[in-house]
Symmetry: C2
Subunit: 181 residues, 2 copies
Amino acid sequence: MNAKIRVLRFGHRKKRDIRVTSHCALVARAFGAEGIIIDGDNDGIAENTIKRVNERFGQGIEVRHAAWKKTLKDYKKKGWKIVHLTMYGEELGKSLGKIRKEKKIMIFVGAEKVPGEVYKLSDWNVSVTNQPHSEIAALAVFMHELLKGKELGKKFRKAKVRILPTARGKKVQRLEKQFQV
Amino acid sequence: MNAKIRVLRFGHRKKRDIRVTSHCALVARAFGAEGIIIDGDNDGIAENTIKRVNERFGQGIEVRHAAWKKTLKDYKKKGWKIVHLTMYGEELGKSLGKIRKEKKIMIFVGAEKVPGEVYKLSDWNVSVTNQPHSEIAALAVFMHELLKGKELGKKFRKAKVRILPTARGKKVQRLEKQFQV
């Protein structure tokens, strides 16, 4: 699957959501999205987190701020398909086959109250369990299923360090300069 | 798979971790763990969140507070196996087959700095990608893989409402009293 994936984080509130939005951005990066757009307060926190992580662990996601409604409509016009993750949505397995055929996928993750319009503008409303839990968890499990687990071994360009999986302790490989270009 | 699963959340800091720890507890509940033990500050926030959700959406997880080291050692003595989720650990796929054979599994999820002793006390150190992201996401993807997606349709006893999956909007079923007992 070679789809472009971007994430739209709805309704970020400074202070209250600092860590949750940063976690969303880090998951989007680690699982291979190429961008995250943050709607709501622009406090620069997620950008700083991602900038630090990109510099050290390799070039991943870009972070931008924009208003959700204009973003959704613009993306739809450009042929992107919108997947809204919500506990009210259809079972994950039901739409995955169709979504996997798309080439440009925007994943909408909400905060507590998502406007009704989002349910209508979205091509799919998808649930990861029908229980209340976490937009971070929903994003991760959805991307993991969408990408069939291939994201787990994703490599990042221009990394300064690479973690080598190990049964005990920590193995960190410092990469030579010639690989950083 | 009929294993008992509990989660140990390491190093909760009041204020800073309020929402992240609550998300961990909600994921643990939604994906079918029977308990979560919180190490660190005891601010009662996760308990309140889970109490509210259990009452409305059905009886799930129990929340307790305890110190991590004693908890790990006590559980190990009682035959529980410890799975520590860490970006430094072995690939997820490598140990899943073995872990799935166990009957009592404690999943250890950390904050930023986990003591070296945890790596030694754990039966498995497992990574969900070797990139920095989110303990909430790691917990969700690990449980999802461990339970082979069967957790997605989990039913909860004594629920007052049930969400019915739907393509558009929200369908909430109010359950009759005879089903609440």
